[in-house]
Symmetry: none
Subunit: 232 residues, 4 copies
């Protein structure tokens, strides 16, 4: 499996398929977040998609297909959220800082969705699960590239062998904003969360903390480079 194209449909008009599946995904994401995959019925999905159950099955061939479409879509939207970073030209440390912030903000905007992936991807059929994990891994791979680039330029102090694990760490320490929100949100603002996770991760890479958000016990110091995110 590599994308929704591999899910069989009885409908020939590709445009229509894409459109209807978008409807399905929009409806299903909401329902799955609300009640979980197993407690959501196909009838509910059809109803929320604004067509009959029969029509639903013209576009997918099992409920698991809907889950795959949903997971695929969530992953795609997350990557879209990170896309602006690809084009960015900046020193590695600044870039990484930006990327971490961006990732956390994307996770914040899609927290329900991230949680959904953590909780329901196990219900995917094996083929689909493999595909979803591979796509997940591509987000990690993006960070691994950043790290490698920085290491090549001598900006990051990290062993080559540790790069992949570090990249996993980055993603997990961002996504926990979603799957640990019950613990985090009552005490931390997203700004503080971003600042702290960034400092933790860049600290390990031998990059001193950036100025602006002095933390107790840690002298505020101008970072070695100074690029602001496009959003600022």
């Amino acid at each position: 499996m590599s994308g929704p194209k591999d899910i069989p449909t009885f409908v020939k008009d590709e445009r229509l398929v894409e459109m209807r599946r978008e409807q399905i995904v929009r409806a299903a994401v909401r329902l799955f977040i609300e009640k979980g995959f197993h407690r959501t019925t196909t009838r509910e999905i059809a109803q929320a998609s604004r067509f009959s159950i029969g029509t639903l099955y013209e576009y997918i061939s099992s409920k698991e297909d809907v889950l795959y479409l949903v997971c695929y879509d969530i992953n795609a939207r997350m990557r879209e959220g990170l896309e602006p970073l690809e084009a960015l030209e900046a020193p590695p440390d600044a870039l990484l800082r930006l990327a971490i912030e961006r990732l956390i903000r994307v996770v914040d905007a899609m927290d329900d969705e991230v949680l959904l992936i953590y909780q329901e991807s196990k219900s995917l059929l094996p083929e689909a699960l493999k595909d979803v994990l591979r796509r997940e891994a591509e987000i990690v791979a993006f960070f691994a590239r950043l790290l490698r680039a920085g290491r090549a330029q001598g900006v990051f102090r990290i062993a080559e062998e540790d790069i992949d694990l570090m990249a996993e760490n980055i993603v997990v320490l961002a996504e926990m904003w979603a799957f640990r929100r019950w613990a985090l949100r009552k005490q931390y603002s997203i700004e503080r969360f971003i600042a702290t996770q960034t400092r933790l991760l860049l600290g390990e890479l031998g990059v001193p903390a950036e100025s602006g958000r002095p933390a107790e016990g840690r002298p505020a110091a101008a970072g070695p480079s100074d690029v602001r995110s496009a959003e600022d």
Copy 2:
């Protein structure tokens, strides 16, 4: 809800209740890991517990109760695994090092169970979920206490406000050994994982990396040392 005691049962003999529920949990953990909560039937749970479906319902009053018992048990076993640390007397940094290693080893030994919590606790009834989260939080709280102690002694350079988040980070960076195993295990040994996560976390606390590979049962090194890891 605060513990299995709050789950109603028709049986009066407390000993018996405890015994039977132990059977139930042993059977259900295995089944939930294998097939997930929703795909496991109460009939299967009864059968694997070696008694009838009727008897099962003498000791619980809904399938969700079984999930609660299972989550409770997993949490309890994890805390048991960390218990030896409570009595340990050692400098904060050594203690933390040990605690991180221990936690990761416990996660390694109970990886299926940790994953189960991540994936299925959403199906708990609200009351039960709250209880499970509270107990989860106690593991985090243990690390927060360690951090606070170290901070009080001036060994850890961390803001009071960051302590809770840092403690969450520790737990998440350990538990990811379970919920990211599909990505991690093909590349990393548990030893390397422990070493790297430890370095990352202690680095942030201003504690330089220890030499060698900390192994369980190894006497805590006194005070921070100034040796870089062999990998650097």
Copy 3:
């Protein structure tokens, strides 16, 4: 598969299983005859069996199982109908005469059932179909044994190689009373049908027609032996 014992059930009490399955078969035969296998719903079967759909599925595991039970039962009842012959002592030709008559009378009494087998056994699962055909073949084998005995005694003039085909012919020429009834019944009484098919088959075996039912163009002649069926 070799008998209903191989159909899984959730119910442990074997007596009960047998009883309930009898109910199921009684209900299903009627329904299948009336509407055919595919047009009969499992709910109708449950209802006609006087229990809930859930209970139905405690005793079988698919609708095809019901069909198997039905086919098995029909075959068993047919063989029961022929059983009295097994004990009978008489010259081979008299025995065969009796057996043919008996078979036709059984087919007459179970004509709907015989038709059902012809029309619906194709819907059996492969394993079950094989079993049903094997049991069908045993009826044929009974006649083959009769023929072989008669041949051994020099009463039937038939090549060994033709015996199995001849036995098939006997069964088919009897069962056609069921599956060709739309053509036969408007013109023939069962008595005439029995007489004619018997003459045809015994004629081929070199046994002259029996007296009693003279046919035009054929001199009535005393048969070589003279045993009357128990029913006469």
Copy 4:
């Protein structure tokens, strides 16, 4: 109902109707044989016919219509297979011999189709079923005519009243080559089957066996007349 002409269609061009229906029948016979009538979907029929489901319904008005077309076609092809016999001039016994052989060869060539009729004609709508049975009966009637002619010439020794039953027997003893093939084919060649069934049937008519295939216990003797089938 008397022929496909009575099945309503939205299409006016009769040529087109005939053409399309031929496509439908070709596709449907194959599918019905493969999976049975009920397990074949109209979508599959349309697809195999190389046009859309909408178009299918321009030429028929229900799935049962397709079954009727199929049964009608099978019957027509069987009769076509027997047609050469109509023109043949030969003594009745030779003619009957030929006709039986021919019928069996047609059944052999269309065994799946014959089986289909036996198994699925029950699903025809009452009107259509009546028509199919009537057409079936015409095959039987052909043999009845042969018998009557032979009787008139004094070649066959058979009572007038038995002629129709005898004709049914002929057809059934031929068609069993299809519907009992699971039992017959593992032991008999079609040649032997033809020979044996012919002998059985002609024996009953007082016609001695033909030379060529002497059967044990039965002296080989030249038949009273000697006409070879056109195929020889």
